[in-house]
């Protein structure tokens, strides 16, 4: 009798367990499943991550701290990249990548050796490719501008396997058609091309100085560059033959930044205004969709993204106090204003 009861209990437990296992594979479990992650760079203290649900109601100002307690997040949170259920948060000032579950934000591991001023990363076939600023010229005039590298990280072990020397400066990185494309706005006027299957540097493309944000679509890489004192332009690199064409912006759009392609439109910002042009247009629009107000001298449009029919804007503020993020409809109606962390610099989407 007793035994049969026990057996019954055991059976029902295993039934429930298997049931919930089935659920797991369909639907991610976690408090931060359907919403937007806002990365806060941090100032003199650590960086942080804020979360707002897609319904714009559930908000957590410090997700990482809420979930992981007093763990040292790291300084100068630069960017996040994803692989499967994992988010990889780069804390550049601490030479660390925090590996968390992107839905629960529970810390899984840290990649904390082999990195030096890591910036941005992409993932291909179980390996992450992360640009590293390494030393900077102000601290190392001899080789600060030529020692940047890509750290190749084995995501099964969370260790840096190898390095690809770039012999130039490197910052943003994009993966398209099996190749890595890299820009850096301060000391590099080329688009670097890396073949990750051989870990070798291929012939780079002369695109001009001050090239920063970029996105690939249909075999074309759209790179926005805005040289100081000159006209901004979108450089279109046809990746199959590396030929380039350009859309030069009018003077009114000097200092354009934050290129983001959304549904056949290229979004970009100038100061506190957001603009969009058709991806095939030959002229840039000078009519703003949104113009938010900011008292920040350095942190205007510090973070920007377009997704899910919404425009996301982060204001860097004064870098000593918590600052603001704004969510607008795609047509420019303010939907939400949030107080996030110090120096918010990017938006990432859990859907």
């Amino acid at each position: 009798m007793k035994f049969s009861k026990l057996f019954l209990v055991a059976l029902s437990i295993s039934f429930f367990v298997s049931c919930s296992n089935d659920d797991d594979s369909n639907e991610p479990i976690g408090a931060y499943t359907h919403g937007v992650l806002i990365l806060n760079e941090g100032g003199s203290g650590q960086g942080s991550v804020s979360y707002i649900g897609n319904d714009l109601s559930s908000f957590t100002q410090d997700v990482y701290g809420t979930v992981n307690g007093s763990d040292v997040f790291g300084k100068y949170a630069q960017s996040i990249f994803f692989d499967g259920d994992n988010a990889y948060i780069i804390a550049g000032g601490s030479n660390t990548i925090n590996v968390v579950n992107r839905y629960t934000f529970k810390l899984i591991a840290k990649i904390d050796s082999g990195l030096k001023n890591p910036r941005y990363g992409v993932v291909k076939e179980g390996k992450a490719y992360v640009t590293n600023g390494n030393t900077y010229s102000y601290a190392n005039p001899a080789s600060g501008d030529t020692d940047d590298y890509i750290a190749v990280i084995n995501l099964a072990t969370n260790t840096v396997d190898s390095k690809i020397e770039l012999n130039a400066t490197a910052n943003r990185i994009v993966l398209e058609n099996g190749k890595l494309y890299i820009t850096e706005p301060y000391s590099n006027d080329k688009l670097l091309v890396v073949n990750p299957s051989t870990n070798t540097l291929e012939t780079s493309v002369n695109i001009g100085s001050s090239a920063d944000t970029m996105e690939a679509k249909d075999g074309v890489l759209y790179v926005l560059r805005s040289p100081y004192g000159g006209r901004s332009e979108i450089v279109k690199v046809k990746l199959s033959d590396k030929t380039i064409s350009k859309v030069t912006f009018p003077e009114a759009l000097d200092g354009a930044s934050n290129l983001d392609i959304y549904e056949n439109r290229i979004f970009y910002t100038v100061e506190t205004a957001v603009y969009a042009m058709n991806i095939i247009a030959n002229e840039a629009s000078v009519t703003s969709i949104v113009n938010y107000s900011s008292t920040s001298a350095y942190g205007k449009m510090y973070g920007f993204a377009v997704n899910d029919n919404r425009i996301f804007i982060a204001d860097g503020g004064d870098f000593t106090a918590n600052s603001k993020a704004y969510i607008y409809s795609i047509t420019g109606t303010l939907q939400k204003e949030l107080t996030v962390g110090v120096g918010p610099n990017g938006f990432y989407f859990n859907n």
Binding site: G45, V72, N95, D112, K116, S296, A297, D318, A321
Partner: protein
């Protein structure tokens, strides 16, 4: 009768100094102070005097001494690391450090790092609250810290050697020699304090579950000083002060994977002083050469470093005249030439000249007035006319009232003016008005002083992001600070049992005028306390420090604060009465093992130990 008067006068003078924990035996000797104007022109302000015996009861670096014994608030980047102050709610460059009468705040960043100074290199250290720019120049807004090497002229040959060893491999050596007769006086000192400083962070573990500890926090502070005095005759004295120091420090890491960096800084100071005292006229002439430099290794694995150096020549002529029996006046001419060069601010020469007029009126034994005015001239920026007005009146032997009103300033530093990129050559000095009222009560062996103050600071320099994201300083902010300081001291003996107790309490409100928010890293409350007991060869002491919470952000986000903390130390020493003094001591620091920090992510050590040996012969 005259003796009585003299005694009264003397005790009045003494009243000005709330003397803390004097040695139970005070030797009478003729001492020539290095800074004549200090005593003369600080009667209307609050001065805390820390002497040899209290210096010995504290850890070696100046931060610890002042943190546990004064109202000054300290912010440390971990034990032994960069340590900056806030005095009366002001910024780090608004407290001037004065070495034998000369302002030694860095020409480069305007402030002093209190962990690069060994307290035991000096005979006494005075903390004067409130403005002092008329006499001490730039930075004397919140207050001044005076490091003194006083020379004595009597027949003596004294040596003192202090050795200590403590947790985290902390090693200290301090040796001082005094040789003097009635004509000559020589003082030579050497100190070295070092630590591997790899203390554990209480209750802190990394993601692997390993205990965290302070990494890359090793330091080594070394100092050498030599001071000479020669009495040419009874009217003329010649003095020479010389000091060299080097601090070699790594900078402790917030997270283990950070790039390790290192900071080396040093200084060399030489001062020649002539004192002439002729009947009604006095002459004081000073010439000083001060050299300071730093090297910053952003990455200790590389040889490359950035550096900065300044060389300053300071000359000061101070002529005094006893105009009337009750009135003494001084005219001070000051010329200062600084050459600064470095990787971050090019090569610039700055010349400053100033004229000051000081007057002191001794109405009677009870009432003294002070007046001072100063104007600085230079070709870089406009300087305000500074002044100081003070009065001290002793109603009776229990109660003394002090009033002081002053205008003070802080000039832009080399970094502010010339930093590449961002330096702003169009800056004005920060300037402040300050008013204070002090009440000093003395009853038997108790001295109790309370001072309330109000400071209005304008043109506060702040580095803010400007064009193209380059941070640049601007004269942007106005700050209003007000507060109260209470200092209590008591000393008594019952037979052979000697007791003493000291306490300080500072209440500070310091707000940005525009936002009405408290400045970050200014606590509303700070309390210190110390009690000591001595019986023949044994003495025991206990001290504590309480720092109220501080905001770490300009918007006063209540979630972003450093929690308040209270830290206690106890010490015991035993004099073996071998040689003239042979003390063996043991200290337990942070005796209650309190987890605390004065800056975010910069934990301080838990309970730790220190033992020492002080020999005098």
């Amino acid at each position: 009768m005259t003796l009585q008067k003299l005694f009264l006068c003397f005790s009045l003078c003494v009243c000005q100094f709330i003397s803390a924990q004097n040695d139970s035996i005070t030797k009478l000797k003729e001492v020539v102070v290095s800074d004549n104007n200090f005593k003369k022109f600080s009667t209307s302000q609050s001065v805390l005097k820390l002497n040899d015996s209290i210096i010995n009861k504290n850890e070696a670096l100046l931060t610890d001494l002042l943190n546990f014994n004064s109202v000054i608030y300290f912010k440390e980047y971990g034990r032994g690391m960069l340590s900056t102050v806030s005095f009366r709610g002001t910024t780090a460059s608004q407290t001037a450090v004065i070495w034998n009468g000369i302002n030694i705040n860095s020409q480069m960043n305007g402030s002093t790092d209190f962990n690069t100074i060994s307290a035991s290199d000096y005979n006494s250290i005075n903390v004067k609250a409130g403005g002092g720019s008329v006499i001490y120049g730039s930075g004397a807004i919140g207050g001044t810290v005076h490091l003194n090497n006083d020379l004595s002229f009597n027949n003596q040959f004294d040596n003192s050697l202090k050795l200590y060893y403590g947790s985290f491999n902390t090693i200290g050596v301090n040796y001082k020699m005094n040789v003097s007769n009635e004509k000559w006086s020589t003082q030579i000192g050497f100190s070295k304090n070092s630590s591997t400083n790899d203390y554990l962070y209480l209750n802190k573990y990394n993601w692997r579950g390993e205990q965290r500890r302070n990494r890359n926090g090793q330091y080594d502070v070394m100092g050498l000083n030599a001071d000479f005095g020669y009495k040419i005759n009874k009217n003329n004295i010649l003095k020479l002060y010389s000091q060299t120091s080097n601090t070699d420090r790594n900078t402790s890491l917030v997270s283990e994977s950070e790039t390790k960096s290192k900071y080396i800084n040093g200084f060399s100071r030489n001062l020649i002083e002539y004192n002439g005292d002729f009947d009604k006229l006095t002459t004081n002439f000073k010439t000083a050469y001060i050299f300071e430099n730093y090297q910053y290794f952003a990455d200790i694995d590389r040889d490359y470093y950035s550096y900065g150096k300044t060389e300053s020549l300071i000359t000061k002529l101070d002529l005094g005249c006893q105009l009337l029996k009750s009135i003494q006046i001084n005219g001070v001419l000051d010329y200062n030439r600084t050459k600064g060069y470095g990787t971050s601010f090019g090569n610039h020469i700055r010349e400053l000249g100033s004229f000051a007029f000081l007057a002191k009126q001794q109405v009677n034994t009870k009432w003294q007035n002070e007046f001072g005015i100063r104007k600085e001239f230079n070709d870089v920026y406009k300087s305000p006319v500074l002044f100081s007005l003070g009065s001290s009146y002793a109603f009776n032997k229990f109660y003394n009232l002090k009033l002081n009103l002053s205008r003070n300033f802080r000039i832009p530093t080399y970094n502010d003016l010339y930093w590449e990129e961002g330096g702003n050559p169009d800056l004005k000095p920060e300037s402040s008005y300050q008013a204070e009222i002090g009440n000093v009560f003395s009853y038997k062996k108790i001295t109790f002083s309370q001072t309330v103050y109000y400071i209005k600071i304008k043109d506060l320099l702040r580095w803010i992001p400007g064009k193209n994201g380059i941070w640049a300083p601007q004269n942007t902010e106005k700050v209003n600070a007000c507060g109260a300081e209470t200092i209590l001291s008591w000393k008594n003996n019952y037979g052979k049992n000697y007791f003493s107790a000291n306490a300080t309490y500072a209440y500070t409100i310091s707000k940005n005028e525009e936002t009405n928010k408290q400045l970050f890293f200014v606590p509303f409350n700070k309390v210190t306390g110390a009690v000591a007991y001595a019986h023949s060869k044994i003495s025991i002491n206990y001290q504590f420090l309480y720092n109220g919470f501080v905001y770490t952000r300009s918007d006063n986000d209540p979630k972003e604060i450093i929690d308040d903390y209270m830290v206690s130390n106890i010490g015991i020493d035993y004099d073996l009465k071998f040689l003239s003094s042979f003390k063996l001591g043991f200290q337990i620091l942070n005796v209650f093992n309190k987890e605390y920090q004065s800056l975010e992510d910069r934990p301080m050590p838990g309970r730790n130990y220190n033992m020492y040996l002080i020999l005098k012969f």
